[in-house]
Protein backbone atom coordinates (compact mmCIF):
# COMPACT_ATOMS: atom_id res chain seq x y z
CA UNK A 1 0.00 0.00 0.00
CA UNK A 2 1.66 3.21 -1.18
CA UNK A 3 1.96 6.04 1.30
CA UNK A 4 2.13 9.69 0.44
CA UNK A 5 4.29 11.50 2.98
CA UNK A 6 4.65 15.27 3.02
CA UNK A 7 7.65 16.90 4.65
CA UNK A 8 6.56 20.37 5.63
CA UNK A 9 7.20 23.13 8.16
CA UNK A 10 5.78 26.52 7.28
CA UNK A 11 9.03 28.25 8.03
CA UNK A 12 11.96 28.15 5.62
CA UNK A 13 15.46 26.95 6.35
CA UNK A 14 14.52 24.46 9.04
CA UNK A 15 15.70 21.39 7.13
CA UNK A 16 12.79 20.09 5.05
CA UNK A 17 14.85 19.26 1.99
CA UNK A 18 17.72 17.75 3.98
CA UNK A 19 15.22 15.63 5.92
CA UNK A 20 13.38 14.58 2.76
CA UNK A 21 16.63 13.37 1.20
CA UNK A 22 17.90 11.70 4.38
CA UNK A 23 14.64 9.89 5.17
CA UNK A 24 14.03 9.02 1.52
CA UNK A 25 17.48 7.42 1.30
CA UNK A 26 17.05 5.64 4.63
CA UNK A 27 13.69 4.21 3.51
CA UNK A 28 15.26 3.04 0.26
CA UNK A 29 18.10 1.42 2.21
CA UNK A 30 15.46 -0.37 4.27
CA UNK A 31 14.24 -1.97 1.04
CA UNK A 32 11.30 0.33 0.29
CA UNK A 33 10.71 1.71 -3.18
CA UNK A 34 10.81 5.45 -2.77
CA UNK A 35 10.26 8.53 -4.90
CA UNK A 36 11.04 12.00 -3.56
CA UNK A 37 9.09 14.81 -5.23
CA UNK A 38 10.30 18.40 -5.11
CA UNK A 39 7.36 20.81 -4.82
CA UNK A 40 9.53 23.89 -4.46
CA UNK A 41 8.88 25.09 -8.01
CA UNK A 42 11.13 28.01 -8.86
CA UNK A 43 13.50 27.42 -5.95
CA UNK A 44 14.37 23.79 -6.34
CA UNK A 45 17.04 22.30 -4.09
CA UNK A 46 16.25 18.65 -3.67
CA UNK A 47 18.11 17.76 -6.88
CA UNK A 48 21.26 19.35 -5.43
CA UNK A 49 20.98 17.60 -2.08
CA UNK A 50 20.38 14.31 -3.91
CA UNK A 51 23.28 14.95 -6.27
CA UNK A 52 21.11 14.66 -9.38
CA UNK A 53 21.22 18.24 -10.63
CA UNK A 54 23.24 17.35 -13.74
CA UNK A 55 20.72 14.76 -14.90
CA UNK A 56 17.50 16.79 -14.85
CA UNK A 57 15.77 16.79 -18.24
CA UNK A 58 12.08 17.04 -17.53
CA UNK A 59 10.42 18.19 -14.33
CA UNK A 60 7.20 18.20 -12.32
CA UNK A 61 5.69 21.10 -14.27
CA UNK A 62 6.38 19.39 -17.60
CA UNK A 63 4.46 16.38 -16.35
CA UNK A 64 1.64 18.50 -14.87
CA UNK A 65 1.24 20.22 -18.22
CA UNK A 66 1.49 16.99 -20.18
CA UNK A 67 4.68 18.01 -22.03
CA UNK A 68 6.49 14.93 -20.70
CA UNK A 69 5.42 11.55 -19.43
CA UNK A 70 6.05 10.72 -15.79
CA UNK A 71 8.76 8.05 -16.42
CA UNK A 72 10.69 10.58 -18.53
CA UNK A 73 10.92 12.99 -15.62
CA UNK A 74 11.86 10.47 -12.90
CA UNK A 75 15.57 10.27 -12.12
CA UNK A 76 16.96 7.12 -10.58
CA UNK A 77 19.52 7.53 -7.83
CA UNK A 78 23.02 6.36 -8.75
CA UNK A 79 23.71 4.83 -5.34
CA UNK A 80 20.37 3.26 -4.48
CA UNK A 81 18.43 1.56 -7.22
CA UNK A 82 15.03 1.86 -5.52
CA UNK A 83 15.31 5.60 -4.87
CA UNK A 84 13.93 8.05 -7.43
CA UNK A 85 13.63 11.80 -7.74
CA UNK A 86 10.96 13.88 -9.43
CA UNK A 87 12.57 17.33 -9.67
CA UNK A 88 10.81 20.68 -9.63
CA UNK A 89 11.13 23.28 -12.33
CA UNK A 90 13.51 26.13 -11.63
CA UNK A 91 12.26 28.45 -14.37
CA UNK A 92 8.58 28.44 -13.45
CA UNK A 93 6.68 29.37 -10.31
CA UNK A 94 4.11 27.70 -8.13
CA UNK A 95 1.15 29.02 -10.13
CA UNK A 96 2.02 26.44 -12.77
CA UNK A 97 0.95 23.68 -10.36
CA UNK A 98 -2.64 22.49 -10.62
CA UNK A 99 -4.49 20.31 -8.16
CA UNK A 100 -5.81 18.11 -10.94
CA UNK A 101 -2.32 17.63 -12.42
CA UNK A 102 -0.71 16.83 -9.06
CA UNK A 103 -3.54 14.44 -8.23
CA UNK A 104 -2.96 12.58 -11.48
CA UNK A 105 0.80 12.32 -10.84
CA UNK A 106 0.30 11.14 -7.25
CA UNK A 107 -2.20 8.50 -8.38
CA UNK A 108 0.23 7.27 -11.01
CA UNK A 109 3.13 7.14 -8.51
CA UNK A 110 0.97 5.26 -6.01
CA UNK A 111 0.76 2.32 -8.39
CA UNK A 112 4.50 1.67 -8.45
CA UNK A 113 6.09 3.08 -5.27
CA UNK A 114 5.88 2.26 -1.55
CA UNK A 115 6.60 5.82 -0.46
CA UNK A 116 5.93 9.09 -2.24
CA UNK A 117 7.73 11.79 -0.27
CA UNK A 118 6.66 15.34 -1.08
CA UNK A 119 9.22 17.99 -0.20
CA UNK A 120 7.06 21.01 0.54
CA UNK A 121 8.19 24.58 -0.07
CA UNK A 122 8.12 27.02 2.83
CA UNK A 123 5.06 29.15 3.34
CA UNK A 124 1.37 28.33 3.33
CA UNK A 125 0.60 29.23 -0.28
CA UNK A 126 -0.17 27.18 -3.34
CA UNK A 127 3.05 25.13 -3.41
CA UNK A 128 2.77 24.12 0.23
CA UNK A 129 -0.98 23.43 0.14
CA UNK A 130 -0.64 21.28 -2.99
CA UNK A 131 2.31 19.39 -1.51
CA UNK A 132 0.16 18.39 1.49
CA UNK A 133 -3.11 18.03 -0.43
CA UNK A 134 -2.89 14.28 -1.10
CA UNK A 135 -0.82 13.28 1.93
CA UNK A 136 -1.55 10.23 4.08
CA UNK A 137 1.19 11.10 6.56
CA UNK A 138 3.10 14.23 7.39
CA UNK A 139 6.43 15.05 8.93
CA UNK A 140 6.47 18.52 10.44
CA UNK A 141 10.07 19.69 10.59
CA UNK A 142 10.62 22.07 13.49
CA UNK A 143 13.60 23.85 14.98
CA UNK A 144 13.47 24.31 18.74
CA UNK A 145 12.75 28.02 18.60
CA UNK A 146 9.51 29.97 18.92
CA UNK A 147 9.02 31.22 15.37
CA UNK A 148 9.53 27.79 13.85
CA UNK A 149 7.23 26.16 16.40
CA UNK A 150 4.43 28.64 15.82
CA UNK A 151 4.68 28.18 12.04
CA UNK A 152 4.56 24.42 12.56
CA UNK A 153 1.44 24.82 14.66
CA UNK A 154 -0.15 26.71 11.77
CA UNK A 155 0.85 23.98 9.33
CA UNK A 156 -0.61 21.27 11.59
CA UNK A 157 -3.87 23.22 11.59
CA UNK A 158 -3.81 23.20 7.79
CA UNK A 159 -3.02 19.48 7.67
CA UNK A 160 -6.14 18.97 9.77
CA UNK A 161 -8.35 21.06 7.50
CA UNK A 162 -6.99 21.55 3.98
CA UNK A 163 -5.92 18.05 2.98
CA UNK A 164 -8.07 15.65 0.99
CA UNK A 165 -8.06 13.25 3.94
CA UNK A 166 -9.26 15.95 6.33
CA UNK A 167 -12.04 16.91 3.93
CA UNK A 168 -13.14 13.26 3.79
CA UNK A 169 -13.23 13.19 7.60
CA UNK A 170 -10.10 11.05 7.86
CA UNK A 171 -6.84 11.89 9.61
CA UNK A 172 -3.45 12.67 8.24
CA UNK A 173 -0.97 10.89 10.52
CA UNK A 174 1.37 13.58 11.78
CA UNK A 175 4.90 13.38 13.20
CA UNK A 176 7.12 16.12 14.55
CA UNK A 177 10.79 15.98 13.59
CA UNK A 178 12.97 18.32 15.59
CA UNK A 179 16.03 19.35 13.61
CA UNK A 180 19.10 21.50 14.30
CA UNK A 181 18.93 20.56 17.96
CA UNK A 182 21.90 21.85 19.88
CA UNK A 183 22.27 20.02 23.18
CA UNK A 184 24.68 22.56 24.63
CA UNK A 185 22.49 25.54 23.82
CA UNK A 186 19.41 23.71 25.08
CA UNK A 187 21.22 23.03 28.36
CA UNK A 188 21.95 26.75 28.69
CA UNK A 189 18.28 27.49 28.10
CA UNK A 190 18.92 29.27 24.81
CA UNK A 191 16.54 26.99 22.93
CA UNK A 192 13.09 25.69 23.56
CA UNK A 193 13.25 22.33 25.26
CA UNK A 194 11.92 19.21 23.53
CA UNK A 195 9.13 19.09 26.12
CA UNK A 196 8.10 22.66 25.34
CA UNK A 197 7.99 21.98 21.61
CA UNK A 198 5.90 18.84 22.04
CA UNK A 199 3.64 20.56 24.56
CA UNK A 200 2.90 23.36 22.11
CA UNK A 201 2.45 21.14 19.07
CA UNK A 202 0.62 18.26 20.83
CA UNK A 203 1.85 15.88 18.13
CA UNK A 204 3.99 12.71 18.51
CA UNK A 205 7.74 13.02 18.09
CA UNK A 206 9.43 11.14 15.26
CA UNK A 207 13.01 12.02 16.08
CA UNK A 208 15.54 14.61 17.15
CA UNK A 209 18.26 15.51 14.67
CA UNK A 210 21.27 17.34 16.10
CA UNK A 211 22.78 20.45 14.58
CA UNK A 212 25.86 19.07 12.85
CA UNK A 213 28.55 19.86 10.35
CA UNK A 214 27.93 16.42 8.85
CA UNK A 215 24.60 17.62 7.46
CA UNK A 216 26.21 20.59 5.73
CA UNK A 217 29.06 18.45 4.43
CA UNK A 218 26.66 15.90 2.98
CA UNK A 219 24.58 18.60 1.26
CA UNK A 220 27.68 20.11 -0.27
CA UNK A 221 28.71 16.84 -1.90
CA UNK A 222 25.16 16.16 -3.07
CA UNK A 223 24.46 13.13 -0.95
CA UNK A 224 21.77 12.49 1.65
CA UNK A 225 23.44 12.43 5.07
CA UNK A 226 22.21 8.90 5.69
CA UNK A 227 24.21 7.76 2.64
CA UNK A 228 27.19 10.04 2.93
CA UNK A 229 28.15 9.16 6.49
CA UNK A 230 25.73 6.61 7.97
CA UNK A 231 27.70 6.42 11.22
CA UNK A 232 27.43 10.13 11.98
CA UNK A 233 25.13 11.33 14.76
CA UNK A 234 22.59 13.04 12.46
CA UNK A 235 22.53 10.03 10.10
CA UNK A 236 21.83 7.69 12.98
CA UNK A 237 19.09 10.00 14.22
CA UNK A 238 17.52 10.03 10.73
CA UNK A 239 17.78 6.24 10.47
CA UNK A 240 16.06 5.87 13.87
CA UNK A 241 13.33 8.27 12.77
CA UNK A 242 12.84 6.26 9.59
CA UNK A 243 12.49 3.04 11.56
CA UNK A 244 9.82 4.71 13.70
CA UNK A 245 8.09 5.79 10.51
CA UNK A 246 8.03 2.13 9.45
CA UNK A 247 6.33 1.25 12.71
CA UNK A 248 9.27 0.00 14.73
CA UNK A 249 9.68 0.99 18.35
CA UNK A 250 13.02 2.68 18.79
CA UNK A 251 14.01 4.33 22.04
CA UNK A 252 14.16 8.10 21.70
CA UNK A 253 17.57 9.53 22.49
CA UNK A 254 18.48 13.16 22.72
CA UNK A 255 21.54 13.20 20.49
CA UNK A 256 24.77 14.63 21.85
CA UNK A 257 27.37 15.73 19.37
CA UNK A 258 30.75 14.53 20.46
CA UNK A 259 32.76 17.67 21.06
CA UNK A 260 36.26 17.89 19.64
CA UNK A 261 39.21 18.59 21.84
CA UNK A 262 39.25 22.31 21.14
CA UNK A 263 35.53 22.48 21.71
CA UNK A 264 35.93 20.73 25.02
CA UNK A 265 38.71 23.07 26.05
CA UNK A 266 37.04 26.19 24.73
CA UNK A 267 33.41 25.11 24.76
CA UNK A 268 31.99 27.94 26.71
CA UNK A 269 32.72 31.53 26.33
CA UNK A 270 32.69 33.47 29.53
CA UNK A 271 29.99 36.08 29.70
Amino acid sequence: MAKVLVVTSGKGGVGKTTSTAAIGAALAQAGQKVVVVDFDVGLRNLDLVMGAERRVVFDLINVVQGVAKLPQALIRDKRLENLWLLPASQTRDKDALTEEGIGRIVDELRTSYDWIICDSPAGIERGATLAMRFADEAIIVTNPEVSSVRDSDRIIGMLDSKTLRAERGERVEKHVLITRYDGARAARGEMLSIEDVLDILATPLLGIIPESQDVLRASNVGSPVTLNNPASTPARAYIDATRRLLGETVAMTVPVERAGLMNRLLGRRAA
Binding site: I124, R150, D151, D153, R154, G157, D160, S161, I200, A202
Partner: protein
Amino acid sequence: MDANAEPTRQLVRLRGRSYVAFVFCPAVPIVEWLEEIDATLARSPGFFVGKPVVLDLSAVDLSRPAIAHLVLSLEKRNIRVLGIEGVEAARLTASMPPLLTGGRHCAIQHVQPEKPEVKPPPTSLLLASPVRSGQSIVFPDGDVTVLGSVGSGAEIVAGGSIHIYGTLRGRAMAGVNGNSSARIYCQKIEAELLAIDGFYQTAEELDEALRNRPAQAWLEGEIMRITPLN
Protein backbone atom coordinates in the same frame (compact mmCIF):
# COMPACT_ATOMS: atom_id res chain seq x y z
CA MET B 1 -65.48 -25.50 -26.63
CA ASP B 2 -69.21 -25.10 -26.09
CA ALA B 3 -70.39 -22.24 -28.29
CA ASN B 4 -73.83 -22.26 -26.79
CA ALA B 5 -72.74 -21.83 -23.24
CA GLU B 6 -74.69 -19.23 -21.33
CA PRO B 7 -72.52 -16.32 -20.25
CA THR B 8 -72.11 -16.78 -16.53
CA ARG B 9 -73.88 -14.09 -14.66
CA GLN B 10 -71.82 -12.42 -12.02
CA LEU B 11 -73.72 -11.09 -9.03
CA VAL B 12 -73.15 -7.41 -8.36
CA ARG B 13 -71.94 -7.27 -4.84
CA LEU B 14 -72.60 -4.05 -2.99
CA ARG B 15 -70.73 -2.98 0.06
CA GLY B 16 -71.42 -0.14 2.41
CA ARG B 17 -68.77 2.26 3.66
CA SER B 18 -69.03 5.53 5.54
CA TYR B 19 -66.78 8.52 5.40
CA VAL B 20 -66.69 11.67 7.40
CA ALA B 21 -67.35 14.57 5.07
CA PHE B 22 -66.73 18.25 5.61
CA VAL B 23 -70.00 20.08 5.40
CA PHE B 24 -69.86 23.59 3.99
CA CYS B 25 -72.69 25.83 5.08
CA PRO B 26 -72.48 28.87 2.80
CA ALA B 27 -73.92 32.10 4.14
CA VAL B 28 -74.90 35.29 2.39
CA PRO B 29 -73.19 37.18 1.00
CA ILE B 30 -71.62 34.23 -0.81
CA VAL B 31 -68.68 36.37 -2.01
CA GLU B 32 -67.55 37.01 1.55
CA TRP B 33 -68.07 33.38 2.47
CA LEU B 34 -65.79 32.39 -0.41
CA GLU B 35 -63.17 34.81 0.86
CA GLU B 36 -63.24 32.92 4.18
CA ILE B 37 -62.56 29.71 2.29
CA ASP B 38 -59.68 31.42 0.47
CA ALA B 39 -58.20 32.51 3.79
CA THR B 40 -58.34 28.93 5.09
CA LEU B 41 -56.64 27.71 1.93
CA ALA B 42 -53.92 30.33 2.26
CA ARG B 43 -53.12 29.07 5.77
CA SER B 44 -53.01 25.41 4.79
CA PRO B 45 -53.17 24.88 1.04
CA GLY B 46 -53.67 21.12 1.21
CA PHE B 47 -56.44 21.22 3.79
CA PHE B 48 -59.32 20.00 1.58
CA VAL B 49 -57.30 17.78 -0.74
CA GLY B 50 -58.75 14.30 -0.88
CA LYS B 51 -61.46 15.11 1.66
CA PRO B 52 -65.13 14.60 0.76
CA VAL B 53 -67.00 17.90 0.87
CA VAL B 54 -70.79 18.31 1.11
CA LEU B 55 -72.65 21.56 0.55
CA ASP B 56 -75.45 22.30 3.02
CA LEU B 57 -77.66 24.94 1.44
CA SER B 58 -80.40 24.98 4.09
CA ALA B 59 -79.28 28.35 5.47
CA VAL B 60 -79.45 30.13 2.12
CA ASP B 61 -81.99 30.44 -0.64
CA LEU B 62 -80.13 30.06 -3.92
CA SER B 63 -81.47 29.78 -7.46
CA ARG B 64 -80.34 27.05 -9.80
CA PRO B 65 -77.75 29.24 -11.64
CA ALA B 66 -76.50 30.53 -8.29
CA ILE B 67 -75.93 26.95 -7.06
CA ALA B 68 -74.16 26.09 -10.33
CA HIS B 69 -71.96 29.15 -9.92
CA LEU B 70 -71.12 28.25 -6.31
CA VAL B 71 -70.14 24.68 -7.23
CA LEU B 72 -67.98 26.03 -10.05
CA SER B 73 -66.30 28.57 -7.75
CA LEU B 74 -65.39 25.79 -5.33
CA GLU B 75 -64.07 23.65 -8.17
CA LYS B 76 -61.83 26.52 -9.19
CA ARG B 77 -60.31 26.32 -5.71
CA ASN B 78 -59.69 22.60 -6.20
CA ILE B 79 -62.56 21.68 -3.86
CA ARG B 80 -64.79 19.05 -5.45
CA VAL B 81 -68.28 18.78 -4.01
CA LEU B 82 -69.45 15.23 -3.34
CA GLY B 83 -73.09 16.06 -2.76
CA ILE B 84 -75.56 18.76 -1.87
CA GLU B 85 -78.13 18.73 0.90
CA GLY B 86 -80.76 21.05 2.34
CA VAL B 87 -82.31 22.04 -1.00
CA GLU B 88 -85.25 20.71 -3.06
CA ALA B 89 -84.32 18.38 -5.90
CA ALA B 90 -85.92 20.65 -8.49
CA ARG B 91 -83.21 23.26 -8.08
CA LEU B 92 -80.46 20.84 -9.08
CA THR B 93 -79.50 19.82 -12.59
CA ALA B 94 -78.08 16.50 -13.71
CA SER B 95 -74.59 17.93 -14.02
CA MET B 96 -74.54 19.04 -10.41
CA PRO B 97 -73.48 16.85 -7.51
CA PRO B 98 -76.34 14.62 -6.31
CA LEU B 99 -78.77 15.46 -3.55
CA LEU B 100 -77.89 13.74 -0.30
CA THR B 101 -80.12 12.94 2.64
CA GLY B 102 -79.79 11.19 5.96
CA GLY B 103 -76.48 12.66 7.01
CA ARG B 104 -75.63 12.44 10.68
CA HIS B 105 -73.60 14.75 12.77
CA CYS B 106 -70.21 13.73 13.99
CA ALA B 107 -67.28 15.51 15.51
CA ILE B 108 -64.41 16.23 13.17
CA GLN B 109 -61.01 15.43 14.51
CA HIS B 110 -58.57 18.03 13.47
CA VAL B 111 -55.45 16.25 12.38
CA GLN B 112 -52.65 18.73 12.71
CA PRO B 113 -49.76 18.08 10.36
CA GLU B 114 -46.83 17.09 12.57
CA LYS B 115 -44.47 19.97 12.82
CA PRO B 116 -40.77 19.09 12.67
CA GLU B 117 -39.36 19.55 16.12
CA VAL B 118 -37.58 22.86 16.22
CA LYS B 119 -34.43 22.42 18.23
CA PRO B 120 -33.11 25.52 19.91
CA PRO B 121 -29.75 26.48 18.43
CA PRO B 122 -26.83 25.13 20.47
CA THR B 123 -25.58 27.54 23.10
CA SER B 124 -22.14 26.05 23.49
CA LEU B 125 -19.36 24.87 21.23
CA LEU B 126 -16.99 22.07 22.18
CA LEU B 127 -13.64 21.70 20.42
CA ALA B 128 -11.98 18.36 21.15
CA SER B 129 -8.71 19.10 19.38
CA PRO B 130 -6.14 21.84 19.90
CA VAL B 131 -6.76 25.16 18.16
CA ARG B 132 -3.74 25.77 15.93
CA SER B 133 -1.93 28.95 15.05
CA GLY B 134 -3.85 30.86 12.39
CA GLN B 135 -7.20 29.26 13.19
CA SER B 136 -10.05 31.52 14.19
CA ILE B 137 -13.02 30.10 16.06
CA VAL B 138 -15.99 32.46 16.10
CA PHE B 139 -19.09 31.45 18.07
CA PRO B 140 -21.29 34.44 18.90
CA ASP B 141 -24.13 32.30 20.33
CA GLY B 142 -22.59 31.16 23.59
CA ASP B 143 -19.71 29.49 25.39
CA VAL B 144 -16.69 27.88 23.76
CA THR B 145 -14.89 24.99 25.44
CA VAL B 146 -11.50 23.82 24.15
CA LEU B 147 -10.16 20.51 25.45
CA GLY B 148 -6.64 21.13 24.09
CA SER B 149 -4.48 24.20 23.88
CA VAL B 150 -4.96 27.37 21.89
CA GLY B 151 -1.79 28.06 19.93
CA SER B 152 0.09 31.29 19.59
CA GLY B 153 -1.54 33.19 16.74
CA ALA B 154 -4.90 31.45 17.09
CA GLU B 155 -8.03 33.21 18.29
CA ILE B 156 -11.27 32.28 19.98
CA VAL B 157 -14.22 34.65 19.77
CA ALA B 158 -17.27 33.76 21.87
CA GLY B 159 -20.55 35.42 22.73
CA GLY B 160 -20.36 33.79 26.15
CA SER B 161 -17.50 32.54 28.26
CA ILE B 162 -14.38 30.71 27.07
CA HIS B 163 -13.07 27.59 28.81
CA ILE B 164 -9.68 26.21 27.84
CA TYR B 165 -8.48 22.96 29.38
CA GLY B 166 -4.99 23.41 27.96
CA THR B 167 -2.62 26.30 27.61
CA LEU B 168 -3.95 29.55 26.22
CA ARG B 169 -1.17 30.98 24.08
CA GLY B 170 -3.31 32.84 21.56
CA ARG B 171 -6.09 35.40 21.83
CA ALA B 172 -9.36 34.89 23.66
CA MET B 173 -12.27 37.29 23.23
CA ALA B 174 -15.33 36.55 25.34
CA GLY B 175 -18.70 38.25 25.60
CA VAL B 176 -18.40 39.85 22.18
CA ASN B 177 -22.11 40.64 21.94
CA GLY B 178 -21.98 42.90 24.96
CA ASN B 179 -22.08 40.18 27.57
CA SER B 180 -20.00 41.76 30.31
CA SER B 181 -20.55 38.83 32.69
CA ALA B 182 -18.68 36.45 30.39
CA ARG B 183 -15.42 35.04 31.71
CA ILE B 184 -12.30 33.38 30.38
CA TYR B 185 -10.89 30.32 32.10
CA CYS B 186 -7.73 28.44 31.19
CA GLN B 187 -5.47 25.78 32.67
CA LYS B 188 -2.33 27.71 31.84
CA ILE B 189 -2.18 31.32 30.86
CA GLU B 190 0.33 32.50 28.29
CA ALA B 191 -2.22 34.52 26.35
CA GLU B 192 -1.38 37.10 23.72
CA LEU B 193 -4.57 38.98 24.40
CA LEU B 194 -7.63 38.64 26.60
CA ALA B 195 -10.83 40.56 25.92
CA ILE B 196 -14.27 40.62 27.52
CA ASP B 197 -17.04 42.74 26.05
CA GLY B 198 -14.50 44.90 24.23
CA PHE B 199 -12.24 45.55 27.24
CA TYR B 200 -8.89 43.97 26.61
CA GLN B 201 -5.43 43.33 27.99
CA THR B 202 -2.37 42.32 26.01
CA ALA B 203 0.34 39.91 27.05
CA GLU B 204 2.54 42.78 28.12
CA GLU B 205 0.05 43.90 30.74
CA LEU B 206 -0.40 40.43 32.19
CA ASP B 207 1.03 39.95 35.64
CA GLU B 208 4.14 37.79 35.36
CA ALA B 209 3.18 35.97 38.54
CA LEU B 210 0.13 34.58 36.74
CA ARG B 211 2.06 33.02 33.89
CA ASN B 212 1.83 29.27 33.49
CA ARG B 213 -0.91 28.99 36.10
CA PRO B 214 -4.60 28.20 35.88
CA ALA B 215 -6.39 31.53 35.74
CA GLN B 216 -9.67 33.23 35.11
CA ALA B 217 -10.46 36.66 33.78
CA TRP B 218 -13.62 38.66 34.32
CA LEU B 219 -14.87 42.22 34.20
CA GLU B 220 -15.43 44.34 37.25
CA GLY B 221 -17.06 47.43 35.86
CA GLU B 222 -14.57 48.55 33.27
CA ILE B 223 -11.58 46.83 34.83
CA MET B 224 -10.43 43.40 33.77
CA ARG B 225 -9.50 41.20 36.70
CA ILE B 226 -7.26 38.21 36.16
CA THR B 227 -6.69 35.91 39.10
CA PRO B 228 -5.25 32.45 39.60
CA LEU B 229 -7.89 29.75 39.84
CA ASN B 230 -6.46 28.09 42.92
